[in-house]
């Protein structure tokens, strides 16, 4: 076992994969600066800077994948993926189906997501539910270094497109460049368990589509992903002091959802609270309610999500994004009714 930061875990897993699979190339804006460690080990042909042309280089990555490469294409922040959405929505996601299964797109789209460092509404979105909405895309969101590396390896081994989202509060390089900028005068609520942790000496893939039960509980089930998993764990600890046993599921993968684990846990507690940093309406939180209902599991349901455009002002931002406090309030409501 080794102890690595979240960002280094991703890089380490990528390096392991790159050293055994010469088809893997990295491309994106500024990647020679951002991924300098991989640049000096694997050379400039495999770490390529692109112009600020997301539509072109994401579109090109789709066919490069179809023609035999394994591109890891970086869209700096997921907010910017909107510019290149056609490549994902109408091409990467659909080619396998439209070709009758004759042609696959082994593409990894790597992108940073999430807020909590006061960067404003065009730089702090999550959008994983929006992406997972499209049939044909797998979407993964690790919450700790071990899963970050394991899911990257799994994404690279997948024969179909995977969107890999790394939360900026966990990835120190992103938080350093976009949040603090080298300042010691700003503080962000970084969950330490997510930003650094134990990882295996040699990476093995973390299966895509498998959630993790990160805390057992008998009274209610908190279902979450990314940074919010850590907010849930904190809330669960506080609930324990009040005599409430709250379990926490880390989804790890948005699509495909691990319906079995979700239904099993919710079936035990009969109370589910979804904590999702992505937008509330028409997204992951609603989908989770739907799959539980479809499975015939009856449960009380609540959710703590982002309802509106994320404000720039830190105070307003704190009120908008899921927080431990909001989870506690919502948990109380869930427990008060229908106990």
């Amino acid at each position: 076992m080794r102890n690595l930061t979240f960002a280094n875990a991703i890089e380490d897993a990528l390096a392991q994969a790159m050293s055994s699979d010469p088809r893997i190339i990295i491309l994106g804006e500024d990647v020679r600066g951002l991924r300098a460690n991989l640049l000096v080990r694997f050379g400039p042909e495999r770490v390529r800077n692109t112009p600020i042309s997301e539509a072109a280089f994401l579109g090109a990555s789709v066919t490069a994948a179809m023609a035999g490469l394994r591109p890891v294409v970086e869209i700096m922040l997921v907010d910017f993926i909107a510019v290149a959405m056609d490549a994902l929505l109408n091409h990467a996601a659909k080619i396998e189906a439209l070709s009758g299964g004759r042609w696959k797109v082994p593409l990894v789209v790597r992108t940073a997501a999430g807020g909590g460092y006061g960067d404003g509404g065009q730089h702090e979105q999550c959008l994983w539910g929006w992406l997972a909405h499209i049939p044909g895309l797998a979407v993964v969101v690790p919450s700790n270094p071990a899963d970050a590396g394991g899911l990257m390896l799994a994404a690279l081994q997948q024969e179909s497109p995977v969107v890999y989202l790394e939360h900026k509060l966990l990835a120190e390089n992103w938080l350093n460049s976009l949040g603090s900028g080298g300042r010691k005068t700003v503080q962000y609520d970084v969950p330490q368990q997510g930003a650094r942790g134990q990882v295996p000496g040699t990476w093995t893939p973390t299966p895509i589509g498998q959630a993790a039960i990160v805390r057992e509980g008998s009274d209610m089930t908190l279902i979450s992903l990314g940074v919010s998993v850590h907010r849930c764990l904190e809330a669960a600890k506080l609930l324990k002091e009040q005599g409430v046993s709250a379990g926490v599921i880390d989804l790890r993968t948005v699509c495909p959802l691990d319906v079995e684990t979700i239904c099993k846990e919710v079936g035990k507690t009969r109370r589910m609270l979804v904590v999702d940093e992505d937008y509330q309406g028409f997204g992951l939180s609603g989908e989770l309610a739907a799959v539980v209902l479809e499975a015939g599991v009856s449960a009380r349901y609540g959710r703590v999500c982002t309802q509106n455009t994320i404000p720039f002002a830190r105070i307003l931002e704190d009120q908008t994004l899921p927080s431990t406090n909001r989870i506690l309030v919502a948990s109380q409501q869930l427990l008060e009714h229908g106990g």
Binding site: R32, P44, T50, A55, D119, H123, T185, R314
Partner: protein, 345 residues
């Protein structure tokens, strides 16, 4: 061009943004902060010629343009501090600034100002004949599809747009010339519009080029592409890693160069020669650090000031007045914040 008016606005913008930098350093402003220091001549040469009904589409670096257009610096500062009485009620921050009274809208998405300016111009064709719109963007944005598409749209509809490309040659750590072919003015010309190269650090040159372009647009002669070379005195954004590297090579080396050397020496990977090639690319980025510091020599403010130095008394009076204004704005923006915090506790 009134050199005094222009210098006054450039200096005001500079001092304002320098005050912003201090507040950011102190942690009072969160997130990123892209300053327009070094772009003042390009911005002033265009914006100071705008009139009522004209519109501005701005990028993530729009503070100088708004300030020169007439937006209250207090409102800008309060916005950056994330306060409810800021320009956008603390919702936007410096990358998302909106001033409907000036038809001025920003975007944090690179290239978005192209279509935005085209749309403003389209509306003016119907509703405000003779009015123009300006798009400000960096050279990096000129490889963004939506910007190129908007050049064609503006040309084919003869929209009254002035596309102003502020070219500092760098996209964060990527050199523009390494990811882009062909001259930009040449490219714009290919879309069917007048395109001119101008020294964006020379405010008179910008003014003259913009004057012609704005006149053409007001008369229904369609768009112009103004390619203005300039510098970014504070790098891409505050805390720019390359500037930090130049300021404090030792501690930055520890965090970036050591892991890089370790990775270079790792077993399994490319052959030695290819790795050396990789190192060379990494060094190209790192070796830019001192160059980023050296661009102060091209400070447009100093050039504009030089023209006025034969009137030292007037100059002193003007500079003192501007300093005082910015100081007062900063103090009052901060004092209401401190007062609020006092109320809370």
């Amino acid at each position: 061009m009134d050199s005094w008016l222009v210098y006054r606005q450039m200096l005001r913008s500079r001092l304002f943004e320098e005050a912003v930098a201090v507040l950011w350093e102190h942690g009072l402003i969160s997130g990123e902060m892209h300053l327009g220091t070094g772009e003042e001549a390009t911005v002033a040469g265009v914006v100071l010629q705008l009139k009522d009904g004209d519109a501005m589409a701005l990028d993530h670096r729009g503070t100088a343009a708004l300030l020169m257009r007439g937006v209250d610096p207090y409102l800008l500062l309060r916005e950056f501090l994330g306060q409810p009485d800021g320009l956008c009620n603390g919702m936007g921050g410096h990358m998302h600034l909106f001033a409907p009274e000036y038809l001025a809208a920003s975007s944090g998405i690179v290239g978005a100002s192209g279509p935005a300016a085209a749309g403003f111009a389209l509306a003016s064709q119907y509703l405000r004949p003779g009015a123009v719109s300006v798009a400000f963007f960096g050279e990096g944005a000129t490889n963004q599809g939506m910007l190129l598409e908007s050049l064609n749209l503006a040309a084919v509809w003869q929209l009254p747009v002035l596309f102003v490309c502020k070219d500092n040659a760098w996209e964060i750590t990527t050199q523009f010339s390494s990811v882009s072919h062909s001259g930009l003015a040449e490219r714009a010309h290919g879309f069917g519009m007048t395109a001119v190269d101008v020294d964006g650090s020379n405010v008179e040159a910008v003014w003259e080029a913009a004057r012609k372009a704005i006149q053409l647009a007001r008369q229904g002669g369609g768009p112009t592409f103004l390619h203005a070379s300039c510098v970014h005195l504070h790098g891409h954004f505050l805390g720019d890693q390359l500037l930090r590297l130049a300021d404090d090579p030792f501690s930055e080396m520890k965090t970036s160069t050591l892991p890089m050397m370790k990775s270079f020496l790792r077993r399994r990977g490319a052959p030695f020669g290819v790795r050396v090639h990789g190192i060379r690319h990494a060094m190209t980025i790192i070796s830019q650090a001192p160059a980023r510091k050296a661009i102060h020599k091209k400070d447009p403010l100093l050039a504009a000031r030089m023209k006025l130095e034969s009137y030292p008394e007037q100059l002193l009076e003007l500079e003192t007045a501007i300093q005082l204004e910015i100081q007062q704005v900063t103090e009052s923006a901060l004092s209401s914040m401190l007062a609020q915090e006092g109320n809370l506790s």
